[in-house]
Every structure is written in structure tokens, then in C-alpha cells.
């Protein structure tokens, strides 16, 4: 049957199991949009293309499926770039379809032409310019395959207008995808795993450092079994939160710049670190020479470039987290763990002592709302069941510290790029993926203004996301650095000029609520969270509250300001 390029695209998206597309139309994709109107895809019309990319990201993380966005050429494509770069550094599988000017105009500075393949080369896992319609079907399949397999990531497909309008006798390709130049390693080397078991048997003070790879490979259950069997305490990166139950006694909290005292102390003295699906970001390691300097490091990662990039590793294991943990759990059945309880006693007690010595804490107040208190209440009222997205800054870290994630795929944050404006569109994406879940964007008053236009998207598509603004009238995280390291010179970090967020919510057709006193926090949360509408809750919090612990950038992570 003869199909147009646009029809081939629709057919292939169906084949890939896509049901939702986040997008924004324009001249170069008008043919694709015309075809879209004859399909039953759920199209979510964002209000800015950055929102489309973040929403696809949020959708992917909440659902475990590939997120899809569709934008026009030129400004549509460049607007999406921040979202693509964020998904890239966080290894999130999304496919971005961009329109392009007709092939005969490419290179002529045509209207709304940009070389988006060139622009996104360093921030996509792979990208394609479809130069002829014959390639379209194959490219779409490859794109989805590459996005979701191995170390996941964004893949961009640039479709010129004449390709979308062209005609081809088309049959859906069915044969297995084989790319001779791309073949991720899922199966770990068993010899390496035997060595890991030996180390576990001997270790006196071991710890597990879990990361985003656990979430991406769906290995939370396997990790939990592994840690409990071996009685090894667990920390996680910001991206790994929820990969191990936050309520488990072996849980030490997050590590790194804003990590807990016990997680950072344990890191500095442990004799064995089993790092799984992490990339040893500088926000985690601080000064690398001092990081886990007493330890043999085992590093499991599907991407060989993550291994030995930032820290030396004793036992590298290239493989998938889930498959590797399953294999380790099998091997453990044969291992000699008889003296485990005895051996671990001292180490686990040491960790308890650290915990007692310096718990996560803040100065309570009955006069002014403490942001940490809002998150604690949020946790209580949602029983830890909500999907939490965040903006970037203090709000993000307080959410990470005070919302104790028990399950994977419930914490959605822009970790690597740290994009202010991520949280609201990501919440929209997560809500689209999980209609029955409570989805909350924990926001700062600065960040929320970066993609506030997506309120209209939420209202139009009846996505009842809840925005909790920790409104400190500052670009808080930057203000905190200025306070601590720049003698309180608050250069351009005041956000005193801001809209009335309650009225703004109402202007969009959402529910707006405000709390200015601690005693109002719970009632506002109750009303907002359990409403079936889209809601903005504006919490006027202590303006100069800071995030602790904090390790100054580049210092050893034991040098914590508590």
C-alpha cells in the first residue's frame, strides 16, 4: 500500500507501542499534524517545546516506556534542546521528532532552518536526518531501539517536509534490528562476579552505592534482596532514590554534596564499595582523591565509559544492573555467609552511631514555615505514595532528603543538567503516564516561573498535577552559596518581584492556595493534594533557610557543613 511519510511515521509509532505524544505544531510538521488528526494518539499540546521534551522525560521515567515528542523545525527544535540535553545526561529514553525544511532547501538558510542534527549531536545518544522516505521506517525502529536499549538516552529524528509529504509503497519492517556498530553488553562476566562474592565474604565494612542504573533497569527488587542477604548498608545518588526502600534499616540516605552524615562518613572509611549503575558525578565524589580512598571499588555499569572515568575501580563489571544482581543473588546462595551477622555488627553499629550523632535536622519554628516541614507533611499526607517531580535548587534537595522514597520511578528530577523549569512539565508527563497517581511538583518560586506556561497544558488536558511552591523569594540555592562563600553578597538573587501565585493559578483555571503560617501548612496540603483539580500551593517559607549538610564544591565529602 502507498503511504505518505507522515502515515509511515504514525504507523511506526503505533508499532512501537506509543500512545502519547507531547508536541507543538508548525510549518515543517503541518503534514504530520494533519495525519495525526486522523489517528487516536493522545496528543498533549504543550505551551513551549522545552515543556514537550521534559514532559516526554517525565512520562518515560514514570512509565518505563520511551517518551515521544514532536516539534517543528528551527525555533521549535531549538526550544526542545534543553530538554534533550537533560534527558541525555540523565540517560532517559525519549524520541524527539523534529520537522525540517524540504531536502532541496537544506543548507540554504531557508525559513526556520537550523541544523538540529548538528546542534544535538553532543546531547543525543544518536540522531538522524531522514534524507529519503525509503529510510524512514527503518530509522524510526532503530531510534526507539537505541533509545531504550543499553544505556538509555534521547534519539532525535529530523524529518524534512518533503519526506513527510512523499509517497512510498510501505511494509512495516519486521526483521530483528541488527546494528553491527551497536551491541550493548547485558550479561556480566561471571569470573568478575565470583571475585565480587569473595570480596563480600571478607569485607568488614562494605557498602552499596546505588544509582540511576537501578531505576533504569528495574532492579530495585533485586538490589533489595542483595543488600538484605549480605547485610550491606545502602546509599544512593540523587538519581538512585527509590531504588532501595527509604524505610529499610540498611538505608543510609543519599550521599554527596547534600548527603547524610552517615552516608558520607561510611563512604570515606568503608573497605568495599559496590557501586551499581552510577557514574561518580562530582556532586557525589567531591574531591576524588579522598573519595572511598580506603575501599576496593566494584563498579557495575552497562556503559564502559562510566567505569574508571572519574575514580579508580578494582573490579569493573560491564553489564545490566538487574541481570548482574540476579546473578550475584544466585551466587550468594553458595557463598559462605555464616559469620555475617557477627562480622557486620560493629560496622552497622558504627553507622547507627553516626546517624545519632548527626541526623538530618532543621530548626523548627512556630512563627514561620520551614520548607523542610512542608516536605515532611507532604510525605506524611501522601504516605510516601506520590510521584514527586522537582524543580532545581533547594526545593529539589529538600524533596530528596525529607521525602523517603520507598519505590522506584517515584522521584523524577533533573539531576545531571539541573534544569530549572523541569518539574512542572515532567509532572505533566508523569501524570499522563499514571492517571491514577498523585503527582506533585516540588518547586521553588524561581524555577516555577521558567515553565509556568505549562499550567495551561495541565488544565487543557485535565492533568491534575499539584505544584507545591516553597516560596522563599530568593533563587535560594544560589543565595545559599552567596551566603556561605561570598560574604552574603546577594547579587541578583532576590525574587521579590513575582506574581501572586494564587491569582496566577486562578487565571489559568487552576485552584490556588496559600499558607503563610506553620499551622496552615497541613490544611492547605490536605485541600490541595486531595482536590481533583490542577493546583498551585504557595507556601511562604523562611527566606534564608539553607540546605544542610553541605560539602563545599571540590572538598572531600567528609567536610560537611552540618
Amino acid at each position: 500500500m502507498k503511504l505518505t511519510g507522515a502515515q509511515i511515521l504514525m504507523k511506526m509509532l503505533k508499532e512501537e507501542g506509543v500512545d502519547t505524544i507531547f508536541g507543538y505544531p508548525g510549518g515543517a510538521v503541518i503534514d504530520i499534524y494533519d495525519e495525526l488528526s486522523r489517528t487516536d494518539f493522545r496528543h498533549i499540546l504543550v505551551r513551549h517545546e522545552q515543556g514537550a521534551a521534559h514532559a516526554a522525560d517525565g512520562y518515560a521515567r514514570a512509565s518505563g516506556k520511551v517518551g515521544v515528542c514532536l516539534v517543528t523545525s528551527g525555533p521549535g527544535a531549538t526550544n526542545a534542546v534543553t530538554g534533550i540535553a537533560s534527558a541525555y545526561i540523565d540517560s532517559i529514553p525519549i524520541v524527539i521528532i523534529t520537522g525540517q525544511v524540504p531536502t532541496h532547501l537544506i543548507g540554504n538558510d531557508a525559513f526556520q532552518e537550523v541544523d538540529i542534527v548538528g546542534i544535538t549531536r553532543p546531547c543525543t545518544k544518536h540522531n538522524y536526518l531522514v534524507s529519503k522516505i525509503e529510510d524512514l521506517g527503518r530509522i524510526i525502529r532503530e531510534a526507539f531501539y537505541i533509545a531504550r536499549s543499553g544505556r538509555p538516552g534521547p534519539v532525535l529524528i529530523d524529518i524534512p517536509k518533503d519526506v513527510a509529504r512523499g509517497m512510498l509503497a510501505f511494509k512495516v519492517p519486521k526483521e530483528e534490528i541488527r546494528l553491527k556498530s551497536y551491541n550493548p553488553t547485558y550479561q556480566p562476566n561471571m569470573k568478575q562476579l565470583q571475585k565480587v562474592i569473595k570480596l563480600i565474604e571478607k569485607a568488614e565494612s562494605p557498602m552499596i552505592f546505588a544509582g540511576g542504573g537501578i531505576i533504569l533497569s528495574g532492579a530495585a527488587k533485586e538490589l533489595t534482596e542483595f543488600a538484605r542477604t549480605t547485610q550491606i548498608p545502602v546509599t544512593a545518588s540523587l538519581m538512585g532514590l527509590g531504588g532501595f526502600p527509604g524505610s529499610d534499616p540498611l538505608w543510609m540516605g543519599m550521599l554527596g554534596m547534600h548527603g547524610t552524615y552517615r552516608a558520607n562518613m561510611a563512604t570515606s572509611v568503608c573497605d568495599l564499595m559496590i557501586a551499581i549503575g552510577v557514574r561518580f558525578d562530582d556532586r557525589v565524589t567531591g574531591k576524588t582523591d579522598a573519595f572511598a580512598s580506603q575501599a576496593k571499588i566494584v563498579h557495575v555499569d552497562i556503559d564502559p565509559t562510566s567505569i574508571r572515568k572519574n575514580v579508580p575501580v578494582s573490579i569493573p563489571v560491564v553489564g545490566d544492573c538487574k541481570i548482574t544482581l540476579n546473578a550475584l543473588n544466585e551466587l550468594l546462595k553458595e557463598a559462605d555467609l555464616s559469620e555475617l551477622a557477627e562480622n557486620r555488627g560493629k560496622w552497622l553499629k558504627q553507622i547507627q552511631d553516626w546517624k545519632r550523632a548527626a541526623k538530618l535536622k532543621y530548626q523548627h519554628s512556630d512563627k514561620v514555615i520551614k520548607p523542610q516541614y512542608v516536605i515532611e507533611k507532604l510525605y506524611e499526607l501522601t504516605k510516601g505514595e506520590a510521584i514527586i517531580t522537582t524543580e532545581v535548587g533547594q526545593n529539589q534537595i529538600w524533596a530528596a532528603q525529607y521525602y523517603h522514597f520507598d519505590k522506584p520511578n517515584h522521584f523524577i528530577t533533573s539531576g545531571g543538567l539541573g534544569v530549572m523549569g523541569f518539574g512542572l512539565p515532567a509532572a505533566i508527563g508523569a501524570q499522563a503516564a499514571c492517571p491514577d497517581k498523585l503527582v506533585v511538583d516540588v518547586a521553588g518560586d524561581g524555577s516555577i516561573q521558567m515553565n509556568i506556561q505549562e499550567m495551561a497544558t495541565a488544565i487543557q488536558h485535565r492533568l491534575p498535577v499539584k505544584v507545591v511552591i516553597l516560596n522563599n523569594r530568593y533563587l535560594g540555592m544560589v543565595r545559599q552559596w552567596q551566603e556561605l562563600f561570598y560574604d552574603k553578597r546577594y547579587s541578583h538573587t532576590s525574587m521579590e518581584f513575582a506574581p501572586d501565585f494564587v491569582k496566577l493559578a486562578e487565571a489559568y483555571g487552576a485552584l490556588g492556595l496559600r499558607a503563610t503560617k506553620p499551622e496552615e501548612v497541613e490544611s492547605v496540603l490536605r485541600e490541595g493534594l486531595f482536590s481533583d483539580r490542577t493546583v498551585i500551593m504557595d507556601f511562604k517559607v523562611e527566606p534564608e533557610e539553607s540546605v544542610y549538610p553541605m560539602v563545599p564544591a571540590g572538598a572531600p565529602i567528609t567536610e560537611m557543613l552540618l
Binding site: 549531536r121 556498530s181 574508571r308
Partner: protein, 162 residues
């Protein structure tokens, strides 16, 4: 740790944009490129890139892994450290005053070069060899007066077991 020269031979899909992916990887991550050569292989869908870079050991490992990670890269070989042949071609335009002509011809002969263009005041020499050989030739020609140099950058291959 010591930075050393490494010769990488990289098989890639012969497609538009692949070279810029590799060049972009090097510039984006701050890796150094001493020279880069690219052309089609016997298989018309595959190209071979030869890159000479300088790096310490952990870095060269990372460079190889990063290149391998690119979807269009089929295989990365490091030639340094094993038995391989390396050649580079240079065109060298030298001043050829009458009193120097004989000497230039003698040098070219020793280096098994060729004169490929002759003028009243210049010779253009074609020569191939390793980086070391070209450097030696250049240092001999320098006092005579080099007007212009064009070098291809190295190409290289493993030696076949005897």
C-alpha cells in the same frame, strides 16, 4: 602520568556526519587530535579513520571507550604497542637557488622522495614515511628554506603475522 602518542584505527559507517561525530567528541571532551585521516575501505559502506592523539593511559582508555560508544563506530583498534606500519605523505616546497639544487636532490634521493614540481626558484618534493622520517627530512631542508608544507597525517595498519 605521562602523555604519549597513540595511533588509533577506527572503522566507521561510511555516512554523512560520522566524521563530525568523532571530531565533535574530541573537541567536546577536550581530547587532542594530532592528525586525522579518513577514506573509504574496500567495503564501500565502511570508512577507516586513523587518528593520532596524545594521552596518558587512563585517558586513552576513556577515549577508546567513548569512540566505541558512538553508534556509527564499528571497531576501534589501538595500533600503538603492537606491530604496525605507519606512513604519512608530505609535499614540501623548498627554495631552490642554483647553489642548493644539487644538495636538495641528494637529500631527496637519500629519503627516497620525488621531485613532483620544478620552477626556476623552487622544487616541490613528495615523500612518504613515518613521522620520524618526515621530521628528519624537514630538519635537513629547513636551513635551505622551506616555503610551504602539506602533510596528510598518518595512516596505519597492523602487520600481518609472518
Amino acid at each position: 602520568m605521562n602523555e604519549e602518542k597513540h595511533v588509533l584505527s577506527i572503522m566507521v559507517d561510511n555516512q554523512p556526519g560520522v566524521l563530525s561525530r568523532i571530531a565533535g567528541l574530541f573537541s567536546g571532551r577536550g581530547y587532542n587530535i594530532e592528525s586525522l585521516c579518513v577514506a573509504e575501505t574496500m567495503d564501500s559502506v565502511v570508512s577507516r579513520l586513523t587518528i593520532v592523539t596524545k594521552a596518558n593511559l587512563p585517558l586513552i582508555e576513556q577515549i577508546k571507550k567513548q569512540i566505541n560508544k558512538l553508534i556509527n563506530v564499528i571497531k576501534v583498534h589501538e595500533l600503538t604497542g603492537s606491530d604496525y606500519v605507519e606512513r604519512e605523505m608530505a609535499l614540501i616546497k623548498v627554495n631552490a637557488k642554483p647553489e642548493h639544487k644539487a644538495e636538495i636532490l641528494r637529500i631527496v634521493d637519500i629519503f627516497r622522495g620525488k621531485i613532483v614540481d620544478v620552477g626556476t626558484e623552487h622544487y616541490t618534493i613528495e615523500v612518504t614515511g613515518t613521522d620520524g622520517k618526515l621530521k628528519a627530512l624537514l630538519s635537513l631542508l629547513k636551513p635551505i628554506g622551506i616555503k610551504e608544507i602539506a602533510r596528510t597525517g598518518a595512516i596505519a595498519m597492523f602487520r600481518e603475522g609472518k
